[in-house]
Homo-oligomer: 140 residues x 3
């Protein structure tokens, strides 16, 4: 039974939804020591988020960006928090709709996701910087 925690940085990504499963896994070789457990990924920002979705066709990620831009538009007439740019307030809203953290079961040393599931880093700013993610693993 043990805890493992590490904060990693992902390089700046352009605005949109990015599949980062492999980048995350490369940072946590310790995962193989856990027969059963949970892995929490927590993004330390309020204008980017994490979610789990389809890991195959990139067109899904393109449609995510299109739809979120429609559902959470820039320059909505009711925004008052506007001084950080047109993309700022929508970024905050999107990050709470999608969420700052995900929890994934661990089984036999691996993240136990379904066949079609992958981890998305959702970058909601036009010029987002490097993003930090705190990874916390607990298991045995």
């Amino acid at each position: 039974m043990s805890w493992f925690q590490k904060t990693i940085s992902l390089p700046p990504l352009k605005r949109g939804f990015h599949l980062v499963t492999r980048e995350i896994l490369e940072k946590i070789p310790e995962l193989k020591n856990y027969k059963v457990g949970l892995c929490n990924l927590f993004i330390r920002h309020t204008s980017a988020s994490l979610t789990i979705n389809e890991n195959a066709d990139p067109s899904v990620r393109t449609d995510f960006e299109s739809h979120f831009n429609k559902m959470v538009p820039e320059r909505a007439p009711y925004y008052i928090h506007t001084y950080e740019g047109d993309d700022d307030m929508p970024a905050h809203l999107k990050s709470s709709i999608l969420g700052a953290s995900i929890n994934i079961p661990i089984t036999n040393g691996q993240l136990s996701m379904g066949t079609w599931q992958g981890i998305y880093l959702c970058e909601h700013r036009d010029f987002g910087s490097s993003r930090q993610i705190t990874i916390t693993i607990n298991g045995e």
Copy 2:
């Protein structure tokens, strides 16, 4: 202090929001062994999701389906991921808005939810198949 993990299947459900608290609880009699802990439910799919909401009036679940169909419409002109059917891309979007997993505290051998809370399986496809959920319990 111990871990328990099990992957269960729920039978195919029609498109919509379904209260499945009882079905989940029937699959994990081991819950009664935990005085305090956390239970993670993780759905292994990208076109269905899990959420917690009102456990009494079925009209709430009907309105969930109506509202999500409005907020995440089929055949939006900007979708490019369309070859798996009109319901496919909206299903992916809904699953990330609602989320693939929920975490519920355990107290005295029971899921410690509020009086009016229940677990929803949200089926976003027209003809969804059986859905697998990995249940991970940690506690003492």
Copy 3:
């Protein structure tokens, strides 16, 4: 390695998004005993929710309320669950879009959030009552 669990009440708050990081931390001095771990906050209601977002400028919280009222409107013509008031069904929807629980890593006796992150209590009813949150900490 140990578990800690406590259910707290926050006093009634007006409809809107409220920064409650300090109120939460004041209730869990035990946090300082954990070098590494996870903290789960679970709201025991279906018309209020928890999220993490910007902890500085109050205008962000104002815009959250404005946007969620647009994205999940009152008196939508398709609602059938209407007998508990115009604010009721939107409150249920908002609570599932934002979520009933959040998980925050613990590092060196503190909630390990980013510089700009804070905890929001999202009150979706016009006259919400006191809200109960079950806090579960696991770590070492």
